[in-house]
Structure formats: C-alpha cells, structure tokens
Symmetry: C2
Subunit: 215 residues, 2 copies
DNA sequence: TTTATCTGACAAGTTATATTGTCAGATAAT
DNA sequence: ATTATCTGACAATATAACTTGTCAGATAAA
C-alpha cells in the first residue's frame, strides 16, 4: 500500500510516459507469448518472462496484477491478431465453395505453423487455468464459430445459415477444425498442409454436389 | 536415498501387502480425480490430494513419483473406464443409423454429466501439462476416433470406413464431438441432452437420406 | 545548476509446496 | 512375550516463486 509505483508522467529518453508504459506492456505480452507458447503456462515464471522482456519485475506489476492476467492479455492479443487475417479473404471473389473454404483454412493453418507459440496459446495453454480464462476461451470459440458460419454462408448461400447458427453445427465445425489443428500442432506439422486442404476440398466439393441439384 | 519406504511384505489388518498398496493407490487415483476435476490440476496440491484420500504424503510417494505421474494415472483410469460403456451398445441391434449414433452419444454424454470430474479430466485439465501427458491425450483421441469410426461403420455400412479412417474425417468428427462436449461442460450442462441428441438425429437422418438412393 | 522523477538491478520478506525424516502406537510374526 | 514391521500423524528441510522494497545512477524539468 505504501510503495506503489508512482505514476509516470514525464517524458523520458524522448518518449512520452504513456508510450513508454504501452511499450513495456507490449514487450511483456510478447515475452508472455514466448514463455507460455514454449514452456507452457504452468512452467513459465514471472521472473523468466521479465527476463525475456528485458524488464524487471516492478514493471510486470505495473501492467499486470498476476501471471493469469498476463495470460488473458496474451490470449486476447493472439485472438484479435488472427481474426482479421481470415476475414480479409472473405471480401475477395471465388469460383467455387471449396476455394473460399480452403483459402480461409490455409490462412489460418499457415498462421499457426509460422508461429507455433500462438497455436499453443489458442488451443492448449488456455484450457483449465481458471474460470475467467475459460470464459475467454468460450467467447473466442464463439467468435471462431461465427467466422466459420460466415465462410460457409458464402460457400453455400443456398442454406439457411441464420437458422443453422443456432444449432450445434457451428460448434461441431469449429471443433473439427480445432482438433485437426491440435493434432497438427502436436505432431509438429508433419502432415503437409496441402494434404489436409486437398481432403477438405474433396469434402466440400462432395457437399456442393449434393446441394446443387443436377438437371 | 537413506530413508526409502521399506517395501511392505507382511499381512496387516487381515489384508495382504500387495492388496493394501493397491488399495492406497486406488484411493489416491480417486482423490486425484476429485482434486483435478474440481480445483484443476494446477491448483491441486499433493497434500490436499492426500487429505482427500485419507492418507499421508508418504503413501503418495510410495505409488507416484510426482503430481504429474498421478495425473497420467488418473487420465488413463478415466479413459479406460469410459470406453467399454460405449462399446457395449455396439453389440445390440438398431433400427436406423441415427439410433445407434444417438444411443452411443447418450451414453457418452450422460457419463460426463453424471461425473463432471471425468469430463474436466478428459478435455480440459489434461492439455498443456507436459509432453508426456500430451502424448497420452493424443493416444486417447486416436482411440476415441477409432470408436467413432466403428459407430459410423455400423450406421453407414455402405461407406468405406477403412479408407475414410485414414483421412481427417475421424479427427474432425472427434473434434466436433469434443467441442460440443466442452461447451456443454463449461455451460454446466444447461442445454438439455435431448435437445442436443435431437439435432444429431436430424443430421444423421439427413445424411442417411442422402446416402440411400431413392427409387 | 539544482531538484524531481524515472529506470534498472537487486535484496528482502512472504507464502506455498514438495520432499524427506521422525516417532509413537498398532499389528503381525516368532 | 518379545521382536519386527506397518501405519498414521506430524516435524523439518529444501526449493521455488511471488510480491514489495531499496537505491544508485540516468534523465528531464525548474
């Protein structure tokens, strides 16, 4: 209670106080991503994270109240960073359903392979930490399901996705995508991405053939 | 190194040494299930688990080298205990595909609702603890996928499930089932099980209608 | 130039947990 | 009956991490 960090207001090293604080916060989030995504949440220590960030513990508590709070911030950051990537593709035109589906999946899976830390955060480290984190996970799952529904809505405009979105179908599709991703992560991306996408293409094409009535 | 527990060989209280040891081990596994399945793995302490088991720490280290080792044993126990339940149903006859699918799912989901500790163990507490546990999770996932393939093979004998089992389809189905289950757990079983199964029935019937050519 | 504030390194206190050790009384073997 | 072993309760130690505090030197403001 006595010795809280005095709120910094001055400029220092030519940068405003708020910018320095934000910079430290970002460094901690980045370090947290590395620590959680490699060591895992349980084995990552605050001191270790601070070392990675090139900061000292004081600055950790300046921005976060606990390791769990940092985890939540890192998780949010990863989720927020990944969403727009997939959404961009949805603005572009496409020739057939399997194209838009696979393109979106490719973006998603590629992002994970390029940064396995994020992959671990998204699916593995985030579960079972605390009720608060569980809620964040649920919320992120819902958003992912929402994106999937949008993609499927574009791919199969004939279906009533507004109605379907109130069923277990989006959750099921999300789960399918998620577990395929988890297995891919745990086997260290051994299966070529193109193999996975070829199978998806086959399935989506089959669904397309079923839905579009032949004359 | 000096003071290891002398290996017990005598009979005591009318029970053989090996039986007493096995009994303590089982008590610890049961206590671990309770602790991990409610507090969560991270927050469960060895002392707390021993209290739940009505044993002292000495006996913990008699049977397990670490908390993680206990987790692996508990996980195995839960997985082994759940498999035969679902497999039993597969011996019985059924009228239509959605019947066998839903019956199996009902058994599975009911088991989780009746013992949420197991549900949490299966899907939530087990992830991200260590590479060894990750492998156990992968193995269990494969076995679950195997069961799903068997169920689908019964429900849709017209499909070549031997070939399909080498695709992402079993993993996808497993993931769908898993995430639906996780959401159900995290929302504390709010959605009535019959609602979920009704949707599954609808989907499986639709798939059936698609696969059986109309005259 | 002088004063106030910021930074980085580290110390200190606190808590929690794991892990090993001790021991008195209960039980079985001789 | 006496000796050896087993059990349960608890003490002691070690370790690790969190959290707060101190302080010298760097930087900016007056």
């Amino acid at each position: 209670m006595k010795n809280e960090i005095a709120k910094t207001t001055r400029s220092y090293g030519g940068v405003r106080a708020s910018l320095r604080l934000e910079g430290r916060r970002r460094k901690l989030i980045e370090a947290g991503l590395t620590a959680f995504g490699t060591l895992g949440y349980a084995k990552a220590s605050i001191k270790g994270i601070c070392n990675l960030a090139g900061l000292t513990e004081r600055y950790f508590y300046e921005s976060f109240g606990s390791k769990e709070e940092l985890l939540a911030a890192v998780y949010q950051d990863v989720v927020e960073g990944l969403m727009p990537l997939a959404l961009e593709r949805l603005e572009e035109p496409f020739a057939k359903p399997s194209e838009i589906v696979c393109d979106t999946l490719r973006i998603y899976f590629t992002a994970m392979k390029e940064d396995p830390r994020k992959a671990r955060m998204l699916y593995i480290e985030v579960l079972g930490v605390s009720p608060a984190i569980d809620r964040a996970y649920q919320e992120a799952t819902r958003r992912l399901a929402g994106i999937i529904v949008r993609v499927m809505g574009l791919a199969f405009p004939g279906l009533d996705w507004r109605a379907l979105s109130r069923t277990i179908v989006p959750t099921g599709l999300t789960g399918a995508l998620t577990l395929i991703a988890i297995n891919w992560i745990l086997e260290e991306f051994k299966t070529p991405l193109d193999d996975i996408l070829a199978q998806v293409t086959f399935l989506v094409d089959a669904m397309d053939a079923f839905l579009t009535p032949k004359p």
